[in-house]
Structures are given as C-alpha cells and as structure tokens.
C-alpha cells in the first residue's frame, strides 16, 4: 500500500477527465499516464465528513477524524498505521513514512494515540537505513545500543508502574500512554535486534545524493519516489506514505516565479492559474513515472504495480477557496478493476474512508469499517 498526498489541491479541470465511466479521454495531467492506462481509476465526489478548514484537513487525510479545525481536535489512527499493526512484522520496516519539504500544518501517518509520525525527509538517509550494510563494528555497536535502550526501558517502566497506583483516572490515562509507549518501543527494538542480524537487501541502484535546494522540488520528489520504489522492490516494507509539500517553495518549473501557496490563491487570475498548472503537472508526471516503474518490476507473473495499491490525492480540492470536498483522488495498481472515472454525488460526498476500507481488504485485513466509512467504495471491484 502506498499513500501519497500533496497539500496543494488540484485544478479540477486539469485533473479530472471530462467524461465519467470507462471510456474517458485523459485529462491534461492524466495524459502523462499513458504507459499505465487502464491500471488506475479516478474518483470525484469523495471527502471526509465533518472535515473542513482548508489546510488543517491535512491532519486527517489518512485518518478521517472529524473536525480537524476544532480547538479540541483528537486525531485517530491512520489507515497505513492500522495496516502496519497487523502486517508490519513481515518486513524489516513495518512501514516507511516519507516526505518532501517537511511539515506544513500536519503530517500523514498517525499512530494509534493520535500522534503524528514524522516522515523521513532525506532520500540519502532512507537508502542508508534500507541498504547500506553495517560494518561488523557498526553492527556490534548497534546491537549494543539496542541492548542498552531495552535495559533503560525496562528500568523506567518499573519506576513508572509504581507511580500509577497513586494517580487519579485521567492522570493515569496519561501515564498509561507512557507505559504503552515503553512496551511498544521494546517490542520494536526486539524486532530490530532480530533484523539487525540479517543482511540488508542488495540493490543495484547507487546511494542517492540529497538535493538540498528546495526549489528543486520536482527532482526532490522524484528522488523520494525512487526510494519508495526501491523499498517496495526489495520488500523492505509493504506500507509507505509520502507527504508532498510544494506549498512552501517556489518550484523550479518553467514559467513559475512565485511560491506555490501564493499561486494556489490565484483569485482566478489566468497568469497565476497557468503557473499553478505547471507545478501540479510536474507533480503528476512524477507520479506517472513512479507507476510506470512499478509496472515494469516483474514479480513472478505479475508486476509490482499489480500487487501494490497506490493512492494519490490532496486534502483540498480548490486551493483558492480552501475547499475540502470533491477531493482529487486517484487509485492505481492492486488487483482492482481499473480504467474508470467514478463520479459520486458532488453535493453529498461519499466518505473517502470507504476507499480506505477497500484498500485494507485488498491487503488482506478482515475489516469492513475504518473511521467514518459506510462500507467499501462502490464501483471499485476486485478483479
């Protein structure tokens, strides 16, 4: 499962094809997806109920938690973390949270306690974690460090448990989070200890160099997509989230001279809209390239794309008015029957979490509900 979110919104008429159903002419952006035609579906009319407030809806994009703009908002577990809880143990990394340009108002992956999981922003570091073999010395040191950390966790756990007898209920809930964190971290470290003794997978691709100029946003995103591809190819993980944040920068794309955020507040000025379209298109080309590469990886009869459901979308539809309904959503890959443009009720949206349920089921989880879902996504069937 791969979940990609861009926080800019999308110019609807460039993203969505004009026709609905199966035989649609690709839109301007989707014209770049020809190599994977028929292997993706576009959906219009999806959003999270009780989710409005513009940028702040980033927080709940993968969780569906209600009222993200509220002063007392409490987030819930994201769909990728839910999958990782059950399936993460199969791979060295239960999940990979990746990002380009760090945080804007929120992040993608959310743990069970509603806490954001910070994404890895450096492709070089991702490569290093996944593939760069440790020297014998490094390995010994790592095992030692893991051992020390586990001992420390045992120690603080004992001390904290003694506390809990004297606490009131609400205070105890806070402490329980600490105790749960200690326990879960110990489990993760134990698993890390096991994996530390196994060789890391070998890949032909060389270690990348990070691009530090953040106006090279397109290239930076492409590099991160490449890392995601390597991670899936090597089965280092089966669950990836990718947070794209072009809003903060002036993206180096021909014709663009202003920060993406300023462009999204185009006020319907044609000059700004044109620049924004260029930025969005570049992002979509990156996605198309990623999907094409997934399709080219053979896994004994089927391609990696056939095995991996890739979700792409944004928490906003129209950046100019900060609308959070009728979100631009695309699902590619997996064993779904693709090649369609699904149109749901634009005035009464279908919950985006329905798509998440479909994705969870595709991964083999026996769940028929997730957050604000009302079922699986109708019209999206398995092949």
């Amino acid at each position: 499962m791969v979940c990609v979110m861009t926080n800019t919104g999308m110019i609807a008429e460039n993203f969505f094809p004009k026709a609905t159903g199966k035989a649609f002419e690709p839109s301007r952006y989707l014209a770049h997806f020809e190599p994977v035609r028929g292997r993706y579906s576009v959906m219009n009319g999806l959003s999270h109920p009780d989710n409005s407030g513009g940028h702040v809806v980033e927080k709940s994009f993968l969780t569906g938690a209600r009222f993200p703009a509220s002063a007392v908002f409490k987030n819930s577990i994201s769909v990728d973390q839910l999958a990782a809880e059950s399936l993460g143990h199969h791979t060295r990394f239960p999940y990979l949270a990746l990002g380009v340009n760090g945080q804007h108002d929120g992040l993608l992956s959310v743990s069970r306690d509603g806490v954001f999981i910070p994404p890895e922003l450096s492709p070089a570091k991702v490569y290093q974690r996944l593939f760069t073999p440790d020297t014998a010395e490094e390995s010994k040191q790592r095992m030692r460090e893991i051992g020390q950390r586990v001992s420390t966790l045992d120690f603080v756990n004992e001390k904290a448990k003694r506390l809990s007898r004297s606490l009131g209920a609400e205070d105890r809930a806070r402490l329980d989070q600490y105790l749960t964190s200690v326990r879960e971290l110990e489990q993760r470290l134990e698993q890390a200890r096991v994996w530390q003794q196994r060789e890391k997978p070998h890949v032909a691709a060389p270690a990348p160099q990070d691009i530090t100029d953040n106006t090279q946003d397109v290239d930076r995103a492409r590099l991160m997509y490449d890392m995601a591809l390597l991670a899936l190819q090597s089965d280092s993980t089966r669950i990836i989230t990718l947070y794209l944040n072009p809003l903060e920068v002036t993206v180096k794309v021909p014709g663009v001279s202003d920060r993406t955020h300023t462009l999204t507040h185009h006020g319907n000025e044609p000059a700004k809209l044109a620049q924004l379209a260029n930025v969005e298109e570049a992002g979509m080309k990156n996605l198309g390239r990623f999907l094409g590469k997934l399709a080219a990886v053979n896994e004994g009869g089927s391609s990696l794309l056939d095995e991996t459901a890739v979700l792409f979308g944004s928490n906003m539809s129209n950046g100019n008015n900060h609308s959070n309904v009728n979100l631009p959503i695309l699902l590619a890959g997996g064993r779904f029957k693709h090649g369609q443009h699904l149109q749901f009720d634009p005035k009464n949206n279908t919950p985006l979490c329905n798509l998440f349920v479909s994705m969870l089921q595709h991964m083999g989880l026996e769940r028929d509900a997730f957050s604000t879902s009302t079922g699986t996504l109708s019209g999206l069937d398995l092949a």
Partner: protein, 904 residues
C-alpha cells in the same frame, strides 16, 4: 426519540430528588417555559436547541455545555432575542441566572475537587529542550527539531489533554537525551585552543563573484578603488551574454582579492533585493564565540561614494547545521541587527553560542527583500555598477574569537562528572571505546574557515581521553546524588540513587568505560517520568474543595510559565523547605523570574501561542503585490510584539493597551512601514505616538496582521474570528457543514465586502457573523503585512499606480483598485466608521478584555482548559485588578496567588 425517553426518565427520577433541588428546578423550569419554550420546545427546536427535553442534569459533557451556553446567552442579553415583545424582568433574569449558575458551578466544582483542573502531563518539546539547556548549562543546545510538534487545545500546547505520547515519540526523546548528554561531556583534558582570527572582507572567495559582476565594489579610503575598473556604460555583465566579460574581470582580479586589505561595498538592485552572503566561517567546536564586525554605510552614485542618505543596517545570521551545501533559503537563525549610520567604520560586537557547522551569514538588513527570482541586481542593467545609484553597506572585516570557556572542563561536564579528572584511555584497556566525533570543518561551502588543514594534529587526531574514576561505585553514587535532585526537582532518597548506581554497575560489567556508564544512568533519568512529567500525581485530602499542589508542583508551574523550563536550584530549595507557597515567597520568586533573561522565553513562547506568532512564516507576501516586504521587517515585527508585551508587564500597563495605545515599540524598519517619522536605527525603542495614529497595540501590530492574513488577501472573517477569540474573549463556533467555501477573486471585480454580503442578508449566517465580521472589517484598513491602505492593491486592475517611494525610483507597477470600507456594526447595533471608532467602542468594556487576558494567561500558566467553576475566582481577581486599571503585571501577580494556580 432519545429525548422523550430522557423526559420520561426525568419524570420517574424527579420524585426522588431532594425537595430543595426540585423547588429550584421548578422555578427555573417556569422561567424557561415562559420565555424560551416558544422557540426551544421539543416541537419547534429552533436552532436545534430543545430545552424542553434537556434534562436538568449537569454531568460533564454535551449536556453541561448546553446549559452553560444557555446561561451565557441569557447573561449576555442575546436571549431571549431582541425581537421578542414579552421579556423577563431584570429580577426574573437575575434569579434564573443565579439558579443555573449555582447548579453549573456546584457540578463543575465537584468534578474539579476530585480530579483537579490540570493533568499530570509530559513536558512539551520546547520545555524539554529548555530543561536540558538549563540542566546541562548548554545554552545553545538544539534538540527540539528532533521531536514531533506538539498538538494544542484552545491554541495552547501547555494543556495536558493535547500532549500525547507514542513509542515513536519516546524513541525520539531518548535520541534527544543522548545527543544532549554527548554535547555536555568533555572529551579532552585541556580546552580546545582558542582562536582569534580577523578576516578581511574579500578573503572569502564567495565574495569575488559579486565584485566581478559589479553587484559589489572594492572601496579604498571611502572611495571607489579602480583596481577593478568600472564597466563601460553599455557593458552587459548579466547571465549568459555576460559570461565572457565576467570571466575577464575575474581574471583581472586573479588572486589579488585574497589579501585585499580594504572594504567591499554591497548595494541592492532597483528592487532592493536581498543581499545575503555567507562569510565562509563555521565553528569546528560548539561554544561561545565573540564576533566583531567592522562596517559602514554609504550612498553609491554611479561610481562615486557619498555619505549615506539615511541609516541602514545589516544582519548577522547563521545557517543551521546541514550535511549538504546551503543556499539563500536554507534554514537560518538570526544573531543580531546592527546600524551603519555614517561613512565612518563602526565595530559591532556579538557574543553568543554557536553550534558546530552553523555558518555565519552577512545580510543587509533594511534593504533586504525575500524571493530570489523576482528581483534585479545592479548587474542586470547595462553598465552594472557604473550605471547604478542607491544605498549601500560596506564591510571592512570581521573577527571571531573562540570557543570561549569560563572553565575547563565546562559546566556542562562538571554538572554530571563533578571534578573527576579526564585522562588518557589506554588502547589495551579492554573497554568499549566511547564514541568520538572527528574534529574537522564540516561546512560543505567551499573555502570554509577555519579549514581542517589549519587545525593542529592534537585537534584532528587527539589522544583518546575520558573521565577517570578510581572508585566508580562511590563516585557514581556521589555524582548521581548531585545530578538527580536537579533533574527531578526534589530530594532523592539514597535507595533511589542506588537504583541508578546499579545501571552504572551493569554497564561497567558490560565493559563500558566510566563515561559511558554514568551517561547511561543519566539517560535513564532523563527518560523517566520523574524528569519527563510535570504536575502533581498524588490525590490528597478528598474533603478539600480543591486539591492543593505540593510546593514542588508549584515550583514547576512557576518555572514552566515564566521561564518555559524546569525550576532552578533556588526554586527547588524553597520547595524542598516547604516555603514556596507562602505569599511573600511567591511574589519574590515571580519578581526574580521575570527579571531574569530566561523570562524572554515566556514572552516568545506565549506570543507564539496566544497571538500565533509561530505562524509568521506560514505564508509569504505575494512578491508582485508587496515588493516592499522585507526579511528585516519580518524580524522587526516579531521583536515589536515581544517588546510590547514586555513593556506592558514591566510597567503594569492596562489591558486596554491590547486594543489601543499611545505608544509603540518600534525600530526604523517598522517606523517606515507604519509611516511614522523620526525613528532611526534597528534597535527597538519606545516611541510616543501622535494622537490619531492607530499603531502600537497588538490589534494593529504588523506581526498580528500578518498571521491573520494569507500573504495574498485578507479576510474579515479570519481576522474577525481571531480578534473575537484572542482579544475579546468571545468563543466563535465553527461554520456549519455544507457552507460552500468562498472563492476569492483578486482581479478586483468584487470587494471582499460584496463577497461576504450573505453574512448580513441571510438570517442564518447573521446570527454568528454579526459578531465575527465587524472587527475584521475594521481591520480591512491593514494589508497582509500590516501596512495601512485605503485602496486594495491589484496586479492588473485599478486606476492609479501605487508609489512605493523606493530610493532607486523603481516602479513595480502595482495598481490601486477598489477603495477599502472599514465600517461596520457591532451586534449591539452601534456602528463604527473606521478602526478608531471600533477601538473606542471596544474600550468601553475593559473588563471584558481583562477577563479574556486572564483566561489566556490561566490556560498557559496552569495548563488547563477553562472550567465553569473558575468563574467566581476569576471574577474576584478582576474586581481586585480594577484598581490598577487591569494592569497586566497585576493580573500576573493575582494569578500566582490564586487558588487556580496553587491547586491542581
């Protein structure tokens, strides 16, 4: 259907309730039947409120909130609505409100008595960083960026319910603790050598390109140095066409600039672009450094140096550490701003902590812009500097001395290891070698000074040294007995110290050296709840009306509030003696904490949260519409708001000054921006304002106006909601679902007022928007960076061109379009023509402002959401504070002495 079941249930319970309660309820019910049920019974349920079915029970949750809302709307005179003809008498209202208030208060107070208002919670990321900085005496320690950003409730991350913890987070806290301890521990027996080097302006190779292009000039004896001749009037030095010419000029310069003893003058282009240039100096050791800069100001007139027309300033900043090369937009922190008012060279000094691989950057302050690709340089016009005229700043040299340590080993080290010696660790000791970071120049900028080759062998390949203990068990016990009480803010019994000593023993058995073994014990301490969590966790006397905090918890609260950190030794000592809670000690400590420079952290953090200043970089002003926006201005804006709050506290100035002020805290950049004459220099100072000037108060400060706009447009709704909640204290409900978003049209065909017309014309919208919008309309007179306007700017439409009065005469071609209409009407019906009228109307109710200020401070200081049962105490504090016109310091002092602060 559920509601009628409730009513049925109520009917069966009612006979069993005590008679007095029933009587009060019956009176209340009578009031509701007479004045509310016409609209709010089960049949009509106007606005979704069914008072008939709402049971008179006040357990926490939605029911309680609804009754509280009923109380407040009646108290505010909003209900029954004005349109109603038969109205309750004053006495009827007072009685009903009292009955309701008694119920609400009693129910809430009962809950608070059992659980307290504030939770036992973990430290926030900023508190954690500050705590480690203080505990380890490492003022420049940076670890906050390793931790996830904290969530907030009601805008504050100090409230326990917002502060969750996951295993991911815990792992990062452990990483941060490790980093902090590593930074604290000395790895040499002698201090690193102190270097004092003076670098001539041209010694940094990165400067040379500017000179070759003609965007910077060589200046000797305050005049143009013809060492590199001026370009001819038609020579083009820009871009690809200018390649050859630039190469020629570079060759002509050769390596002569390396030892060039005179100054380099930098100016900005017609668009007054940012000049931001690395000085190619980056510390090899973390520590305190003294930086001297010799600089002066000038006016450049097509090849001639003249005295500057006004004061300019430059900024000294540092790029944050990075593994890769850094650019103009790489993350930075600012060290300081300095003035260059005349042709005379001035030496400026800055002393402070620098981290390894932070890199010094020289920026021209008052003249800087922001985005690189929309500006123009001198070199972009034919003739380059020969054809350019404009202001400039010249740099003679800069000098760096350091790392300066008051003692060796440094305090950070002795805080853990006391005075144990640091000795060579023999290679055959059989112990695990402690990690050592190689000492070298880490900056990836070419030619970074000091270069690795300039370091001595002793520095780059030092002998392996580590702290030595002859009697590790005893030493560990002794040292931990010192460290733990400071970390845990309390006395630590011997048995508890022994638990940590056992960690040392365990590590020693695993062949660790003493340094690593004690480090592990300290790490465990820093990850334990004793360090990480604050607030009392013990339930005390169940009969008490509120749970009194221990002195330790009071010490924590006071320090977390006024220093955004953990208590220091003086506070801990007072707490250990059980004397902190005494009123005179509370007052003395408040005075001491506010007088200490660490209280700057409170000012910065509180304004970050209360006034959203942390969002200052969330959006960038549209470069086409706001070409006068400056990085220097942005820094000045933040300083203004900080200085203003400090001034209000120090001189106990009335809360009315949130809204209107007769003075402002300004520097030259701000004064220019606000159109106030006679302010020179980059230092912030108090300026008395002319009577009709709207500036000064938070309401009209540029920082506030910027964070309530989005860089391109302002929204009266956004600003109005913000003013209502942060300044006036009116809670604004979220918009109803299904309201289509507004599609702002900056082509200017419609003004924002026209677009928001439905807020007035549609009764369903007007209910809330009659309250939300008016402050926003009053502030429409201020643009996205807080500048005054009476017409909206547009790139394309409008009858007049805007005159920016740039020194160079450049016209960015921004047009002035629709006129601004800052008028409006308050929910009370009173109307205002402009901001001044609006201010006057708001100032008629200073108590409302004081009430809100108090609530904001209480949330921050006590880490608790507002509770209904707080109200009586708040009313008492306000009655007391009235005498000082609700001075801010008086409010602070009242909080410290209040039961809301001294109880859980």
């Amino acid at each position: 259907m559920r509601r009628s079941t409730c009513s049925l249930l109520l009917a069966t319970i009612l006979p069993f309730l005590p008679t007095t309660l029933r009587a009060a309820d019956a009176d209340l019910r009578g009031y509701l039947e007479a004045h509310c049920f016409d609209c709010h019974d089960s049949a009509t349920k106007k606005g979704g409120l069914d008072l008939e079915a709402l049971p008179m029970q006040f357990d926490a949750g939605e029911r309680f909130e609804k009754w509280a809302q009923v109380h407040d709307r009646i108290a505010a005179g909003e209900m029954p609505p004005k349109s109603r003809k038969v109205r309750p008498s004053e006495k009827e209202n007072a009685d009903a409100l009292k009955r309701l208030d008694d119920q609400l208060h009693a129910a809430d107070a009962a809950r608070v008595a059992k659980t307290g208002r504030a939770l036992f919670r973990r430290l926030t990321a900023q508190e954690y960083e500050n705590a480690l900085r203080d505990l380890l005496h490492l003022p420049g320690l940076r670890i906050k960026h390793l931790l996830p950003e904290d969530e907030r409730r009601h805008g504050y991350n100090k409230i326990g319910q917002a502060l969750d913890l996951s295993n991911v987070h815990l792992n990062q806290l452990m990483d941060a603790a490790d980093l902090a301890l590593t930074a604290a521990i000395a790895t040499r027996s002698t201090p690193p050598p102190v270097r004092r080097d003076r670098y001539l302006a041209a010694s940094g190779t990165e400067m040379w390109n500017w000179v070759a292009r003609g965007d910077a000039v060589l200046l000797k004896d305050k005049a143009f140095d013809p060492l590199l001749p001026l370009p001819a009037a038609n020579e083009n030095l820009w871009g690809a066409p200018g390649d050859d010419l630039r190469k020629q000029r570079n060759t002509a310069l050769g390596t002569r600039l390396r030892d060039y003893p005179h100054a380099i003058g930098f100016f900005t282009g017609p668009f007054e672009r940012t000049f931001s240039q690395t000085l190619q100096w980056s510390p090899v050791y973390a520590g305190r450094y003294r930086i001297l800069t010799s600089a002066w100001g000038f006016w450049w007139e097509r090849g001639k140096v003249e005295p500057p027309h006004r004061n300019e300033s430059f900024m000294l900043s540092v790029w944050l550490p990075s593994d890769g090369p850094r650019f103009i937009h790489s993350p930075m922190r600012r060290l300081g701003m300095f003035d260059v008012p005349t042709l005379e060279s001035r030496v400026h000094e800055h002393t402070g902590w620098l981290d390894v691989n932070e890199e010094l950057v020289f920026e021209i302050g008052t003249l800087t812009g922001y985005e690189k690709n929309t500006g123009r340089w001198a070199s972009q016009s034919p003739g380059s500097c020969a054809a350019h005229s404009g202001p400039g700043v010249a740099l003679d040299w800069f000098e760096v001395e350091g790392p300066i340590f008051e003692q060796w080993p440094p305090r950070s080290h002795t805080a853990i290891f006391g005075d144990l010696p640091i000795r060579a660790l023999p290679k055959d000791s059989g112990l695990v070698v402690p990690k050592r970071e190689p000492v070298r120049q880490r900056s990836r900028t070419g030619g970074g000074r000091p270069a690795t080759r300039d370091l001595t062998k002793d520095e780059t390949a030092p002998p392996l040294e580590s702290v030595f203990s002859e009697h590790p068990q005893e030493d560990a016990a002794r040292l931990l007995a010192q460290f733990l009480p400071r970390a845990f803010r309390r006395a630590v019994p011997v048995e508890e110290v022994q638990e940590y000593v056992r960690i040392v023993t365990r590590e020693l058995e695993r062949q660790a050296c003493f340094e690593d073994a004690l480090k592990e014990a300290c790490k465990a301490a820093l990850c334990s709840t004793d360090f990480l969590f604050v607030g009392d966790s013990v339930l005390t006397d169940a009969k008490a009306p509120r749970i009194r905090l221990t002195d330790r918890a009071i010490a924590e609260r006071l320090a977390l509030w006024l220093w955004n950190s953990v208590p220091d030794e003086e506070l801990i000592a007072l707490a250990n003696e059980g004397r902190l809670h005494l009123p005179e000690n509370l007052k003395k400590q408040t005075d001491r904490l506010l007088a200490d420079s660490r209280s700057d952290r409170f000012i910065a953090d509180f304004t970050d949260q209360w006034l959203d200043l942390r969002k200052i970089d969330a959006t960038q002003p549209d470069t086409k519409l706001y070409p006068e926006a400056r990085e220097h201005l942005k820094h000045s804006m933040i300083e203004e708001t900080h200085a203003y709050l400090r001034e209000l506290i120090t001189h106990n100035i009335s809360v009315t000054h949130l809204v209107k002020s007769e003075f402002a805290m300004l520097n030259q950049s701000l004064a220019d921006h606000y159109g106030i004459a006679g302010v020179t220099g980059c230092a912030i100072r108090k300026v008395e304002l002319p009577g009709d000037c709207p500036r000064g108060a938070f309401l009209t400060q540029a920082a506030v106006l910027k964070v309530t706009a989005n860089g391109t447009t302002t929204s009266p709704v956004t600003r109005g909601a913000w003013i209502n909640e942060r300044i006036l204290g009116n809670l604004i409900p979220p918009p109803p679902a299904g309201v289509p978003a507004l599609d702002p049209d900056t082509r200017g065909a419609k003004t924002i007022r026209e677009q928001l017309d439905k807020h007035r014309s549609d009764a369903r919208c007007a209910g809330c928007h009659a309250k939300i919008d008016p402050p926003g309309f009053a502030l429409e007179s201020f643009d996205v960076i807080g500048g005054f306007r009476d017409r909206y700017r547009s790139a394309s439409s409008g009858s007049t061109a805007m005159d920016f009065h740039f020194a160079s005469g450049w016209d960015p071609k921004v047009r002035l379009n629709q006129p601004v209409d800052p008028s409006g009407q308050l929910p009370s019906g009173e109307s205002f023509k402009n901001l001044a009228d609006f201010q006057a109307l708001v100032l008629r109710q200073p108590e409302a402002l004081a009430n809100n200020m108090l609530c904001q401070l209480l949330m921050y200081a006590t880490g608790s959401e507002p509770h209904y049962s707080d109200r009586r105490e708040i009313a008492r504090i306000l009655a007391q504070a009235k005498a000082s016109h609700y001075g801010i310091r008086s409010l602070l002092d009242a909080i410290v002495q209040s039961e809301l602060f001294l109880t859980k």
